[in-house]
Structures are given as structure tokens and as C-alpha cells.
Subunit: 338 residues, 2 copies
DNA sequence: GTTTAAAAGGATGTCGAAGTCCTTTTATGG
DNA sequence: CCATAAAAGGACTTCGACATCCTTTTAAAC
């Protein structure tokens, strides 16, 4: 069993024509006789001829492939992004080459290089958490490959971007808790060196301020994973009792869900005694008990927008378009936890 | 900003050498003087020269890319599979081209064709639920592209396979329910034209038989998605009442979880009144209320094994190796729903 | 009967890399 | 001093598709 792809030359040899003629017959070139065209087309169909994409790309200097660098496919947000990108890309005749950095800087560098080596027409990137140096991306950029950053952007590199308004999202979430009657709201926060960490905290503080509630530094706890919640369980319980916590805004859904589970194991009723809200709206929110209210982060739209911005550049080569930043506003998705 | 990739010819022109010399200098060919080599290498490094992967693939008749066709990336099982595949592939110098069929036959056909067009060296496939015709895959096969099926295999095409022992998994799950005291066990099944659908049903039946319980065709309901559960809710409730159902084995976790939610909304206590077990063990099982007992399906291992089988063929071209089927045995993961 | 052009198709070069073959220069042996 | 070979590097070809340029045949025009 060996590779046996049919080429133009093969067809030409068998039909006793020149490769040029076969090529033109297949693309309805006026110089070719109708009879000949029919003959060639019928035969090509019969032997299942398909032009070699590599040869085409090499010749055309265009691969019709775009590269995607993404931290982790397992996260629902990112897999939704992929769908958004693909749906648009496919429609326009582009393929997507997906690379998973696994939140690993080294891998991200290798992936970027692989995409450049394959001469992708454009790159969509969401950088890994561990990436501090951006030379690999700048390199792609310098090679003239259009790039669009989404979600985890690199501020140092000026290009198109698609981001979620984390500040406003957090504000919406916190305001919602306040409107549902919460007075003492705990915020489980992400590390402050991450943009989402600080922005979401700021939104939380802004909402408190807007409603005339004094912020309390003790009510902001660094805790952004499921495991973290359980290891802090004792501490959190003490805090809840001392501060009469009646609402919790967690920086992401899985932390929010773990928190609900921890509280329930201590006999606390949700939402009656404490209301909980998350951020992100993956499918977990629906599965949790009670279903989790959260702020919906639009993965599919993020992908679509990023691809749209990229296509704009690819379809208008040579035309200078000012870089734009698309900000998506997350929306409240109320369920039974608030 | 235009594409400005450096080529061998560019380097040759600037250094006033021939392209051949530059090519050989870069690969340490003995015919080239050390001085020249150093000159070329230094310069190549400086201008960030990277060979064009397209040109290389065309010349070598090998792309070092393998194609992956997968139903839906959002599913935890499949994204784990991807990780398993990538970890092995990267190490061996292969890139992975991921295509998502979205459980859509048409898309799967297009994806397969795209992979063939790109002349991937091999293909890993898990077929979509809606695929009934396998000509697109047979086509790839006839083109001499090695294939490995995983999880959702096609029995008609003889090639390497990696599957989970669905029969045994279902048997383990059902036996577990019986051992926990269930007498009337409902099975929410996948379509029977899917191998996982029929095998899991058979495992369920075998477990009943082993424990001397008579099977009842009415207790096998085709229902394999979250949405399906809610649309069948009335019907299921009637069935549960009439048949005194005390245990449910769902063909996958999300169906199991949705079922628990549906039952709970009708006031039924889990596991006290009805015990529920799923299949797959994604991260959702831990989040569900109560945490879902399930049969652990090994996504990462599945991907690794599939890639391993494919590599075996790619690294031994021309050598005939008998097709093998690797069967992974799932294990019981008991939580609080049983 | 010759000019002219349209119709139909072939030959050649290009994209980028690299293997095969060929040429030039220099050194060594007899 | 010539023969021979090693050292160093260039020319040519190939992978597959296709665009550009070139050739042949035939029919129309004068």
C-alpha cells in the first residue's frame, strides 16, 4: 500500500495530452475545445483527481490556512472560540491549523514557528499564562503575517484584538448580587498580575461603590481554582461567619461551583442563605446544583470576531487598515444560585 | 506590510553563492568548506532563515503532518484524546491538523477531502454520529493514507483501531447498580447503528442476564443527549412510575446528569429512590449533584495509543504489519449517585 | 493564391528545497 | 612534468500546478 495520488501529469500521459491542456481543460479555459474539456473532466472525475494543495500553495504563495494558538482546548471557552473561527473560516475557503500551547511558553514558541514554517496566511493567538517574552510573536508579525489577538492579548504588539470587558462583567455580576439583596459580598479573585484578575476585581469594587457599599479588603480572597476552594474551606467558613457574608462573586465558574459544594457540605443553603455568582458560563453552570448564575463570556463570538478581523486583512492585501480592538460585553445569565 | 520570507535563493544571492551551496552548507555537507559553512550558517541565523515547509513536503513527498477528524472538541473525552495524540506526535516531529466534524456527515466528508488534499501522512478518525456512508474514508484509505480509527470506529474498513471496551464498561456499570440493590434498571441508549450504542446496550443486557434479571425492551430508551432527556421528561417519568425504576444507566455522563436534574425537579431523591450511573467521566461528574458515579473512559490513553499505532506504520513504510485493535478497559469510578 | 487571424494545444518557467551530476581548482604521487 | 584525485562548489532536475509565451492547423478575407 503506497501513496498513489493522481497528478495532472498522470492524466496528461494517459489521455495523451500535455499537462497544460489538462490543467486548462479542468478550469474551463476558452482556448480548449469543448470535446477535450469533457473528456478531461470526465476522466478526472473518474480517477478522483484532486489538485495537490501543497503545490498550489507554493505556486500561489498563499496557503489558505490560518493558524490558531490557544492555551487549552479542554476549556469550554476556547473550544467555543474554535467553533466561531472555523465556521467563518470554512465559509471563506480557509483551513484552520490549531495549536495547543498547554499554557506552556516553550510550546507556544514552537507552535508559532511551525505556523510560520507552514506559511499560514494569518495567525490568531491567545497567549499562554506563562508567556512573558513576545519575540516569537513579533517574529511572525515581522514576517508579514497578519495577526489577531483574542482574550489573552499582548499589549506591546499593536494589532487587531478581540477582548471581553472584564471590568463591566464583574460590575454586572456584583450589581446583580446587590440587587438581589446581598450586603456583604465576598470576592474570590484571580492573581492580580493577570489582566482578568485585576480587571474583575476593579469591576467588583466599582459596583460596590456605585451602590454605596464600603469595600472591605478582607472580603477579597485570592482563590481561583476548584482545589484552592477546598483547601481554603475552613478559612472561608470562618470569614463567612464573622463577616455575615450573604453573597459571593467568584472569578470563574469552576471556583463558584466548588464554593457552592463546599458551602453545601457545611449545611448552607444556596441561594437562600448565600447567593453565588460566577464568571464565564461554560456548560458546567447548567449542571451545577443549583444551576449557577454567571456572566456569559461569548466564546463563539470572540472567535468569529477575531476571524472577521483577520479576514478583513487577508481579503484586502496591501490596503492599510487601522488596527481595531473589538470589546465584547458579557451579559448576565441568571439561574438559581442567586 | 508584505510577506517577506527569506529563501535559500535570497541567501545565495546576497552571499554570492549558489543555492546548492547554501543548502548544503546548512546541512553540514562534507563537500562544503568549514569557512563557507560558518558564513552561511551565521547569516541564515541572522536573517532568521527557515526552510519553507510546503516546498519540503512537496519535494520529500511527506508532509510530517497527520490529520485528525473528531466529532466535537468541546467534549472532554475528545479534547483529552487530542492531548494524547499531540504529546506523542510533537515528540516525533509531526504536526496535527485537527478537523471538527461537529457530528455532521457533510463536514466530515469535506474535512477528509481537505486532509487528503493536504497530503497528510496519516489520518486518525472518530466518525460522526450522522455518518452512514464511508466512501470518503475508504477514499483516503485507497489513496494509500494510513488510518487509525478510535472510539467511534468503522467496522467495514479494516485498519488499526483503538476502542474502549464498551461492552465491559456497560457491564461494570450495570452490575454496580445491581449490587447496590437496583432491580429495575433503565438504560438510556445511543443510536444502535453506532458501535458504542449497541455494545453498551449489550453490556447492560449481559449484566442483567448474569444476575438473573429478565431484560425488558421497554426499559431501553434511545436518549443520549441532555436536550433529549428534557424533551422526553414526561415519557421517562411515566416509565419510571409504571416500571418501578430504581436504577438508571445512561450511555454518557451528560445524559446521566440531565436525568438526575430532571428527576430531582420531579422531587425524586438520588441515590435514595433512584441510583444513576453514567459513562465517560469527564470533569462534569464531580460537579454534578450528587457527584456522578461513572465508568472512566481513558481519553488521553486512547489518543496516545492511536498515535502510536499510526506512527508504527509511518516509521516502517512498506513493511506489512497486521492490523491490530487495542482495547482499553474502563474502570468504575464510584461517587454519590449510586 | 497568398495574407491574416482565430482556434487549439504544446513548451517553458516559476514557486522553494535539495538530490544528482558536472566543473573547476588545487594538491599529491610517480 | 604530467596524471590523478580530492576539495569545493555550481548547474540541472524534480516535486505538482499553472501562467506565460510559442507553435501548429485551419478557415476566412482579399
Amino acid at each position: 500500500m503506497k501513496s498513489n495520488h493522481v497528478t495532472l501529469k498522470d492524466i496528461a500521459r494517459i489521455l495523451e495530452l500535455s499537462p497544460s491542456t489538462v490543467s486548462r481543460a479542468l478550469k474551463d479555459h476558452p482556448d480548449i475545445n469543448e470535446e477535450t474539456k469533457k473528456l478531461v473532466k470526465t476522466f478526472a472525475e473518474k480517477v478522483n483527481y484532486r489538485p495537490n494543495a501543497l503545490a498550489l500553495s507554493l505556486r500561489r504563495q498563499k496557503t489558505n490556512t490560518i493558524g490558531l494558538i490557544i492555551p487549552e482546548i479542554v476549556h469550554h471557552f476556547f473550544s467555543s472560540v474554535i467553533s466561531g473561527i472555523e465556521d467563518l473560516a470554512y465559509g471563506e475557503g480557509y483551513n484552520v491549523m490549531i495549536c495547543q500551547s498547554n499554557e506552556n511558553y516553550q510550546r507556544e514558541v514552537i507552535d508559532t514557528q511551525a505556523l510560520i514554517d507552514h506559511r499560514v496566511d494569518g495567525i490568531l493567538v491567545s497567549v499562554s499564562k506563562t508567556t512573558r517574552d513576545y519575540n516569537h510573536l513579533r517574529n511572525a508579525y515581522d514576517n508579514g503575517i497578519p495577526m489577531v489577538f483574542f482574550d489573552r492579548i499582548v499589549e506591546e504588539i499593536k494589532t487587531d484584538r478581540v477582548i471581553t470587558d472584564d471590568f463591566q462583567g464583574a460590575q454586572i455580576a456584583t450589581s446583580h448580587l446587590i440587587e438581589r439583596g446581598c450586603k456583604n459580598i465576598l470576592h474570590l479573585a484571580a492573581p492580580q498580575h493577570l489582566v482578568i484578575g485585576s480587571r474583575r476585581k476593579e469591576g467588583y469594587l466599582k459596583a460596590l461603590e456605585d451602590h454605596g457599599i464600603k469595600a472591605d479588603e478582607d472580603l477579597i480572597v485570592k482563590c481561583d481554582t476548584r482545589e484552592y476552594v477546598f483547601s481554603l474551606q475552613q478559612h472561608l467558613m470562618k470569614l463567612i461567619e464573622q463577616k455575615h457574608i450573604d453573597g459571593i462573586f467568584a472569578v470563574n465558574d469552576s471556583t463558584a461551583i466548588a464554593t457552592m459544594q463546599a458551602l453545601q457540605s457545611e449545611g448552607i443553603k444556596i441561594p437562600d442563605q448565600i447567593k453565588v455568582i460566577g464568571f464565564g458560563d461554560g456548560p458546567n453552570a447548567d449542571i451545577a446544583y443549583p444551576p449557577l448564575s454567571t456572566v456569559e463570556q461569548k466564546g463563539y463570538e470572540t472567535g468569529r470576531e477575531a476571524m472577521r478581523l483577520l479576514l478583513q486583512r487577508l481579503e484586502n492585501p496591501g490596503i492599510e487598515i487601522n488596527f481595531s480592538t473589538k470589546v465584547l460585553t458579557p451579559t448576565l445569565k441568571q439561574r438559581q444560585s442567586t
